[in-house]
């Protein structure tokens, strides 16, 4: 199940599923540690003796955010109970406080008593062993704690605080959890429990006919009791409603900080653009890690998750956010990479948000041969992205610091990790981390990375290194043109495998072939590139009502159809947008460019109601597949929109120049 509502501040990240259950709470890093671990923290309502959980089917739920903010706007309605809740969730932009406003609307023609139940199922630091939950009467609040993590919950209903609470054992022996206790409308009041524990609290309001009342709930996260106590007091002093309003204002300011001109893009595209900026922000940790995704439901599929920083995803997200004007996300990312780079100069497969190496399945030895367990594009892309960042911001001090710690060692690695007889990079795992070989995408990122390094060396007057890096880049380019292009087919190939001193080509049609122009090896208008991309466009188009483009031919991941001819793979948001980037790069007139808007509208059509984008879509019904939100999907949308706008400006200027010329010609005659 995807996570249509995510709220966070770069340190605390909270996710809700489509049925309003709080499913993930990451603290003290975005993506690490998951204090809920995908369990269900439920929301329940009791009205004059009748109880219902909001995840039950008789609630009609509409999920959205308040416009241009990271504050949710959820309407959920239960006709049987005659109740509607309007919910706003947000995380304070500075402090680790989650705030929830519940407006309880009585739809009946008589006054009623409503009790709202909130359930906390935390397993602190990802294990329930050794947890404590306690009610502290002087605070009139409940907190879960273990070692250095404290999670305090409290709230207000009118002037009244928590009405009742229940604290107890969950998923152990015969105990399901305290949430069961709520179903009679009353909570037992047990004040403490340890081990595998959970808690439920309730609030009570009396709502006149056709009227509404407001309940606030908040959660404070901190390293010790004093810290959460202070945050709790801060909420009480500032009033939770005012705080939540300020959160709303903050994000409105953030997403509108630049005076963007959106060319002729339609409203829903602009809307999704802003939503994407905000979603990317939630998935980036304040210490620089840009997480791939934080939807823990993927655990059911992989027994591992996406809460890692892949330097590839990170670098491409940083690139998009730099271009969009949000260097606040990119700067710490590059600093993170400088620290994470190995002494040998390469980036590892993936990282935890705290900077440690992430889990991996890439071996150091295969068929008796020692190998590097890397995806080399991840090193190349960091440099490529950093140069794009420099081009935009010209922050010389910033890149000067990174020259020795990141740029030079990484470039040296890229330069040396080659097969000289082919002038190609040595084999590594591909960008989908499925196969090992020498791939076009990877090789192009290495070309781009070495070019970037040469540019930096030039910038710092280090001309000898500039020459070396540029020369290495040119060699890679010639290797690409010689070995990764097939003259017989007239297009580039996915890659080659080195076997018994010979190169075996992989002819699988692959969306990432777009790397040939994206990273500057050849212009998009080159005939070889055109033939390649046109073949990809035809071969990877998903020929169903849903449409879009597949990742590659016969993609097995979450495969939904055996009809490979019509469905070469599920449509992926990023791959579809790469095709759009090609169309943008080759559009030679404004009317031709305008056709591309349909692609952007396509993405908007398949967003979730809250604006969240998944990794893939179901090829027949368009529902989200795999994780959602996927940071890379959002950042690619951001990048593509920017490329569209820039191309629009270029073509517009060309047209004007042309018109002026015609006018002056007319005069001279």
């Amino acid at each position: 199940m995807p996570r249509p509502i995510v709220v966070g501040n770069g340190k605390l990240l909270i996710n809700f599923d489509t049925r309003l259950n709080m499913r993930d709470l990451y603290y003290p890093y975005v993506g690490q540690l998951n204090q809920i671990g995908g369990q269900y923290c439920r929301l329940g309502v009791w009205v004059d003796g009748v109880f219902s959980w909001c995840c039950d089917e008789d609630w009609a739920i509409h999920l959205d955010y308040k416009k241009e903010t990271l504050v949710s706007h959820i309407v959920t309605r239960n006709e049987r109970l005659g109740i509607e809740l309007i919910i706003n969730d947000g995380v304070h932009q500075r402090d680790d406080i989650f705030l929830k406003r519940i407006q309880v609307r009585n739809l009946r023609n008589e006054q009623c008593e409503v009790r709202v139940f909130l359930h906390q199922d935390f397993s602190i630091n990802e294990t329930e062993v050794g947890d404590t939950v306690v009610y502290e009467p002087t605070l009139h609040a409940i907190y879960h704690y273990k070692r250095n993590v404290y999670l305090l919950v409290n709230g207000l209903a009118e002037k009244e605080g928590i009405y009742q609470y229940s604290i107890g054992t969950k998923r152990f022996n015969h105990a399901e959890g305290t949430w069961r206790d709520a179903e009679d409308g009353l909570l037992g009041g047990n004040p403490i429990a340890q081990g595998s524990v959970d808690s439920t609290i309730s609030f009570r309001v009396t709502v006149p006919a056709y009227d509404s009342k407001i309940i606030y709930y908040w959660l404070c996260a901190g390293p010790d009791r004093n810290a959460v106590k202070k945050l709790n007091q801060y909420v009480l002093d500032s009033s939770p409603g005012d705080l939540l309003d300020r959160v709303e204002v903050y994000w409105k300011r953030w997403v509108n900080k630049l005076d963007m001109k959106y060319a002729d893009l339609p409203e829903e595209v602009i809307h999704l653009y802003k939503r994407s900026l905000l979603i990317v922000r939630t998935q980036a940790d304040q210490n620089g890690a840009i997480l791939a995704a934080n939807d823990s439901d993927i655990l059911q599929f992989n027994r591992d998750h996406y809460s890692y920083m892949w330097p590839r995803d990170g670098a491409l997200v940083a690139y998009a956010m730099s271009i969009a004007g949000y260097d606040g996300i990119a700067n710490p990312f590059f600093e993170f990479c400088a620290k994470a780079l190995t002494d040998e100069g390469y980036m590892l497969h993936k990282y935890n948000p705290d900077g440690s190496a992430g889990s991996s399945w890439h071996p150091y030895i295969s068929k008796g041969k020692i190998q590097l367990p890397i995806q080399e594009d991840e090193t190349g892309l960091v440099l490529f992205s950093l140069w794009k960042h420099y081009e935009k911001y010209r922050n010389l001090e910033f890149v000067q610091k990174l020259y020795v710690s990141l740029i030079r060692p990484a470039a040296k690695f890229l330069k040396n990790y080659v097969l000289p007889q082919y002038q190609l990079p040595q084999p590594s795992y591909d960008l989908w981390e499925e196969r090992r070989g020498i791939f076009l995408f990877t090789s192009c990122t290495i070309y781009g990375g070495l070019q970037a390094a040469a540019n930096f060396a030039n910038l710092f007057g280090d001309f000898e290194r500039e020459r070396r890096y540029a020369e290495a880049a040119e060699k890679i380019k010639s290797g690409i043109l010689t070995h990764l292009y097939d003259a017989e087919l007239g297009r580039f190939v996915r890659g080659v495998y080195v076997e018994d001193q010979e190169l075996l080509k992989d002819f699988t049609l692959e969306s990432s072939l777009f790397g040939i122009f994206e990273f500057g090896v050849l212009p998009a208008t080159d005939e070889r590139v055109k033939r390649t991309m046109e073949t990809v466009l035809r071969g990877l188009k998903v020929k169903t009502q849903v449409g879009g483009y597949a990742r590659y031919h016969n993609d097995y991941y979450f495969q939904k159809s055996q009809d490979i001819d019509r469905v070469p793979g599920n449509p992926w948001i990023i791959c579809t947008l790469w095709m759009t980037e090609y169309k943008i790069a080759t559009a030679e007139s404004l009317p031709a460019l305008k056709e591309v808007i349909a692609d952007l509208e396509w993405v908007a059509k398949y967003q979730m109601s809250s604006g969240v984008l998944p990794e893939q879509l179901h090829p027949y019904d368009g529902s989200p597949l795999s994780v959602a939100p996927l940071t890379w999907s959002h950042s690619t949308f951001v990048l593509t929109v920017n490329k569209y706008i820039n191309r629009y400006k270029e073509l517009n200027q060309n047209q004007r120049k042309l018109q002026n010329r015609t006018v002056s010609h007319a005069f001279s005659r």
Partner: protein, 364 residues
């Protein structure tokens, strides 16, 4: 009489007054005319200057296809919608010498023959003039449409086997036929530039398809996802040129074929072939020789030519040489049920003539 003259004589003598070539005049099951065999036989006649015989054959093809136009058109109207066409609704690959479908059960759906028809007409046109092509253009265009609509439908291969697969050899024949005929049809004003572009686009699709599905370990394979070889993979390069004969993947395929399917000069069809025990096919030896002649390795081509000549008995070339068979224990059964191996097989003679001609004038 030299085997060349003898071969020409056999072909000329057995061509029906209708224009049809029987596959073999002495073998019951082969008393029909196949589009595939016939087109190669006609090509050999074109190479040897008997253009009138070739023309008669193509006119026969044209009349025959036009006779069954209704079948093709109703299939095209269906376009493989909800209902699957019945196995007998497809155009047949062989006909009586009068151009009538046979009624005995047979694997009749073989698209490669139709590709070969287009290819053969193009060769005839290049050797003569456009007049025949213009006269028979309606069947050529029908075949183009038919192939375009159904190229991805599994059918029997050129050995009349494996009807549930799509075969690269069949795709090669379609590719070669379409590629050869389109410029001529355009030149004759029968199709437009737009049509031609549309067909060329289709050719790129076919080629991509072959590269996507029929390469394993750096060589072509007969079946997707396996590493099975078949000597008919030769078709990819010769004569259909879906890929260049010099292309590394093709060269590796040839090397593999040499290693596992060739015994001296005799070429087997594929490893599990048990038809008449699975012997060595004359026409494949000639075909392999044609490949070598094309890439300029004439010594090897000569070896193959000589090998064929050494196996002609009374000037006749059979379908197979049973000198080295894969399944000797199965041979007897075939002979009992179907009679002695077909001889002369006109296609064997034609391929011999073609190789002889290519060696006389390489790259023609």
């Amino acid at each position: 009489m030299h085997l060349v003259d003898r071969s020409i004589r056999i072909i000329l003598d057995h061509q029906s007054h209708t224009g049809a070539f029987p596959a073999s005049p002495t073998f019951t099951h082969y008393r029909y005319c196949w589009l595939r065999d016939g087109a190669f036989i006609a090509y050999s006649m074109d190479l040897k200057g008997h253009h009138d015989r070739s023309r008669a054959f193509y006119k026969w093809c044209h009349r025959t296809i036009e006779r069954y136009r209704g079948k093709a058109e109703s299939l095209l109207a269906m376009r493989l919608g909800s209902e699957e066409p019945s196995s007998d609704s497809w155009l047949h690959t062989r006909f009586t010498l009068q151009g009538i479908e046979s009624t005995e059960p047979w694997g009749n759906h073989q698209l490669d023959g139709y590709g070969t028809y287009l290819w053969g007409v193009a060769q005839h046109t290049k050797k003569t003039d456009i007049s025949t092509l213009v006269k028979i253009s309606s069947s050529l265009v029908l075949v183009l449409d038919y192939l375009h609509a159904f190229w991805k439908v599994p059918c029997y291969d050129c050995w009349e086997e494996f009807e549930n697969d799509i075969h690269p050899s069949t795709l090669a024949a379609i590719y070669g036929g379409v590629q050869a005929i389109c410029p001529l049809l355009k030149q004759a004003g029968i199709i437009s530039t737009g049509d031609e572009a549309h067909y060329l686009q289709w050719l790129r699709e076919i080629k991509e398809f072959v590269f996507q599905f029929y390469i394993t370990d750096g060589h072509f394979v007969k079946k997707n996802g396996t590493n099975q070889l078949d000597a008919n993979l030769l078709f990819l390069a010769i004569p259909y040129r879906l890929i260049s004969p010099h292309y590394p993947v093709m060269k590796k395929t040839i090397a593999k074929i040499e290693k596992s399917l060739v015994c001296n000069g005799g070429v087997h069809r594929y490893l599990t072939d048990s038809y008449y025990g699975g012997g060595e096919w004359i026409l494949l030896s000639a075909w392999l020789g044609w490949y070598y002649a094309d890439i300029g390795e004439c010594n090897r081509a000569h070896e193959l030519l000589t090998w064929i000549e050494s196996y002609s008995t009374d000037g006749n070339l059979p379908e197979q040489i049973l000198h080295h068979v894969f399944y000797p224990e199965k041979l007897e059964n075939w002979i009992q049920n179907w009679g002695e191996i077909a001889s002369p097989l006109l296609w064997s003679h034609a391929m011999y003539l073609i190789l002889h001609d290519k060696l006389k004038s390489p790259n023609s």
